[in-house]
């Protein structure tokens, strides 16, 4: 009981302290392309403990990315958390025009299955605009994606609802 209480106290404290970025700092908005991967110190440790870097977390959107889930996160919340954690894979898939991360991005943007192939080819064609440099952040990629979608007759609807 005490632990849970303490955890939620900490969570709300950090959220209010960094109220500027929706979801709190490190939530995914500022994640950069080619971010390193966290992990346990060694194979041996990983194999005898089977612990993970996200050791005591217990939810999908809470905790794991340092995100808070209070009101501020509603706007673009989920797509941003997801995007922040698959940036590198997404850039690879988008460059090549297919892949699981690209599908995932389409899903969180609300793109219907029948429009996903088109989404893949449009974003592949505009790869240089969406991933405009090696140092883009998730927030910039998201904004650039919406800008590209707006240019496309068939995909513009998704840019508006996002």
């Amino acid at each position: 009981m005490k632990r849970i209480l303490l955890a939620s106290l900490l969570l709300s404290a950090s959220a209010s302290a960094f109220a500027t970025a929706p979801g709190g700092p490190g939530c995914g908005w500022g994640n950069m392309l080619f971010e390193g991967q966290r992990g346990l110190p060694s194979h041996l440790v990983a194999s005898t403990t089977n612990g993970t870097s996200g050791n005591a977390t217990f939810g999908m959107t809470s905790g794991t990315n340092g995100c808070s889930t209070d009101g501020a996160l509603q706007y673009n919340g989920k797509s941003m958390i997801v995007l922040g954690s698959i940036m590198t894979e997404l850039s690879e898939d988008m460059a090549m025009g297919e892949g699981e991360a690209l599908t995932t991005y389409a899903v969180v943007l609300g793109i219907k299955p029948e429009d996903r192939a088109h989404f893949a080819s449009v974003t592949q064609a505009h790869f240089d605009e969406i991933f405009s440099s090696a140092d883009v952040t998730a927030e910039q990629v998201h904004a650039a994606t919406l800008a590209v979608l707006k240019q496309d007759a068939r995909l513009a609807q998704y840019a508006e609802q996002a």
């Binding site: 041996l44 403990t49 993970t52 699981e100």
Partner: protein, 617 residues
């Protein structure tokens, strides 16, 4: 103490006005049901009675509930009637699976209605619909990964059409590591139960990153045929385990055992855990799940390293040189002689180079120069994309031989005949039946061999604590180390037909070459510490070498090996050995071995042995 009493008092007051409580005998027989034992993680104690695997007072409502399923059931039933004002702290919210089961079994129609906002939000967020058992396969250069790990993936509805596994949750059970122990201490404490075990729920995409990128392990995903109701029931119970501490032991009370318990909660009547009274090695538990008819379909997710090797496999050596050059310097993309290559070959080379660049920085902090480099290559890939990469599916890991081995051998050592009896608790050596294992990996834990010489003369031949070997071949792109480490007791010839039992710890490092498709050659420098009763020093160090050939052939595997140890006290020990395993059947192998050993302290000796090896759980 106070809390349960208080709850009891509160509840007995409220039950008076409501329907008559179920009588004692009903409750007692309910508490004897396997499902209640599953919910409480009870096991029958060695001396009778019960004991729960849970090591956390927050999980029990009754005093001594960890030893008393009946008292826990009575306390839970009473607690469900606590005033609804308790909100998220109400036992109905803390124990949704217990609540559902008791409500159904006792037809409780008069329970107070509690909102349980926290639980409902969490449940809606996870949105459980179907379950996948995930088994990260072994990685050659990390033999300890051969023990494996299992976790569950909880998918939302319509995963194949509307969703993506990257949006699913991973349910993981592992040791909870706090603070900053050093690596070895970590590993040791993990083995010995020094950390508590906790469940965690996190995005599956993070687990993919961890296994396929950081650890280079392929992921096998076994889709289970659990219904949405069964998956939901399991998740209700998972909520009850939030922040709850279990004992964690690497060999038995580990991730795989806990997951089997969860599956028993999902589908009442399954009997999975009782098959693993002593150890629960993940591959064995995967087999148990398959045998129970739970698997509907199997997906394969290759590791990043395997993708890199698959992408570059069709390239010629000149093209591989380009891969290395582009990975070292992106400016090379502009070179005329590169641009002169056919565009489909350039597409493969660029993709290979990109993958190599990413592979090299695995586990490292983001580096702006490397990021710029990676980005350059991605842009090139974008302009000239390669065809989709398809990676051939390897043999299913659970098709490998079972984890324990019984050995029975007959042989002779310098004219003296012997019979040998051996037991190895786990798992696989270089020439054991290979299907389902990578060639060149060995991990042995706890091996005992007894010898019976003529005249009923018994000897402890060897007792191995552990023996790990990793022979990972060099490739044109990757230059992994090969290494080995072993510790235990073994018998060393001492002249005039006598021998001594010595304690040893040794290790080595070097390289392995892929000499042919099924032939590895290796060479390592070694170091050894030995406690020998006849040596003056308590611990005698030695330096040496270990090299050989490992050949995968039609009958099985063959190992030709030469080893030498040069002790500081002048003793020199050399051995050359040849062993061939014949893979007789899935569960058995026949091994023929010949060894000649030389020492300054004894005449050369020759040993011959024929051994039957039987794999069992």
């Amino acid at each position: 103490m106070l809390r349960p009493l208080l709850l009891l008092a509160l509840c007995s007051a409220s039950t008076l006005v409501l329907s008559a409580p179920p009588d004692d005998s009903t409750l007692r027989s309910l508490a004897d049901e396997p499902y209640w034992h599953s919910l409480g993680h009870y096991e029958s104690g060695k001396l009778g009675g019960w004991r729960s695997y849970v090591d956390d007072d927050d999980f029990f409502l009754a005093d001594g509930g960890e030893h008393d399923p009946a008292a826990e059931l009575a306390a839970t039933l009473a607690a469900l009637y606590a005033p609804a004002s308790a909100g998220d702290r109400h036992p109905q919210c803390v124990f949704p699976a217990r609540t559902r089961w008791l409500r159904e079994r006792l037809s409780l129609t008069d329970l107070p209605t509690v909102e349980c906002k926290e639980f409902r939000t969490w449940y809606a967020d996870v949105a459980p619909h179907s379950t996948v058992l995930v088994f990260p396969a072994a990685y050659l250069n990390s033999p300890s990964s051969m023990f494996g790990h299992t976790l569950l993936r909880i998918d939302q509805a319509d995963i194949d059409t509307q969703g993506s596994p990257l949006l699913s949750s991973a349910l993981n059970f592992g040791a909870y590591i706090e603070g900053m122990d050093n690596s070895v201490l970590y590993a040791w404490k993990g083995l010995m139960g020094g950390y508590p075990g906790l469940f965690s729920l996190l995005p599956y995409r993070e687990k993919i990153g961890e296994y396929s990128r950081l650890e280079n392990r392929d992921l096998w995903e076994y889709r289970l045929n659990l219904t949405p109701d069964e998956t939901g029931r399991m998740l209700e119970h998972v909520w009850e385990l939030k922040q709850i501490r279990f004992d964690y032991f690497f060999f038995d009370e580990n991730c795989s055992y806990r997951l089997l318990e969860l599956l028993e909660v999902a589908r009442p009547g399954l009997k999975l855990t009782e098959q693993f009274p002593l150890t629960a090695i993940p591959a064995d538990t995967v087999r148990a799940v398959i045998d129970a008819g739970l698997v509907a379909d199997i997906d394969y997710r290759p590791s990043r390293e395997r993708e890199l090797l698959a992408r570059t496999a069709p390239l010629e050596s000149e093209e591989l040189r380009w891969v290395r050059q582009l990975a070292d310097d992106p400016q090379q993309l502009e070179r005329d002689d590169f641009q002169a290559l056919p565009s489909e070959r350039r597409a493969l080379i660029q993709d290979g180079a990109y993958r190599l660049v990413r592979y090299r920085v695995t586990g490292e902090e983001r580096d702006p120069a490397n990021a710029a480099h990676s980005y350059r290559l991605l842009q090139a890939i974008n302009r000239n994309p390669p065809p989709r990469l398809s990676v051939e599916r390897p043999v299913l890991p659970e098709n490998g031989h079972e984890s324990r081995t019984l050995q029975f051998g007959v042989g002779s050592r310098d004219e003296r005949a012997f019979a040998e009896y051996g037991l190895r608790m786990a798992y696989h050596d270089l020439i054991d039946n290979l299907e389902g294992f990578p060639l060149g990996a060995q991990i042995e834990i706890a091996q005992l061999r007894l010898r019976q010489y003529e005249g009923n003369h018994w000897k402890l031949q060897r007792l191995d604590l552990a023996g790990i070997r990793s022979l990972t071949p060099l490739t044109p792109l990757l230059r992994p180390w090969s290494w080995q480490i072993a510790a235990g007791l073994e018998r060393i010839a001492e002249g005039d037909g006598d021998d001594r039992l010595v304690g040893h710890l040794n290790g080595g490092g070097g390289f392995t070459w892929q000499l042919h498709e099924d032939l590895l050659g290796f060479a390592m420098a070694t170091a050894r510490l030995e406690h020998h009763p006849e040596f003056g020093a308590v611990i005698s160090p030695a330096a040496g070498f270990d090299s050989g050939l490992l050949w995968r052939n039609g009958a099985g595997n063959l190992l030709l090996e030469a080893r030498g140890d040069y002790f500081h006290n002048g003793e020199v020990r050399r051995r050359i050995s040849l062993a061939q395993q014949f893979e007789v059947r899935d569960t058995a192998g026949l091994r023929v071995g010949l060894e000649r050993s030389f020492s300054h302290r004894a005449e050369p000796e020759t040993e011959f042995q024929v051994q039957l090896r039987w794999y069992f759980y």
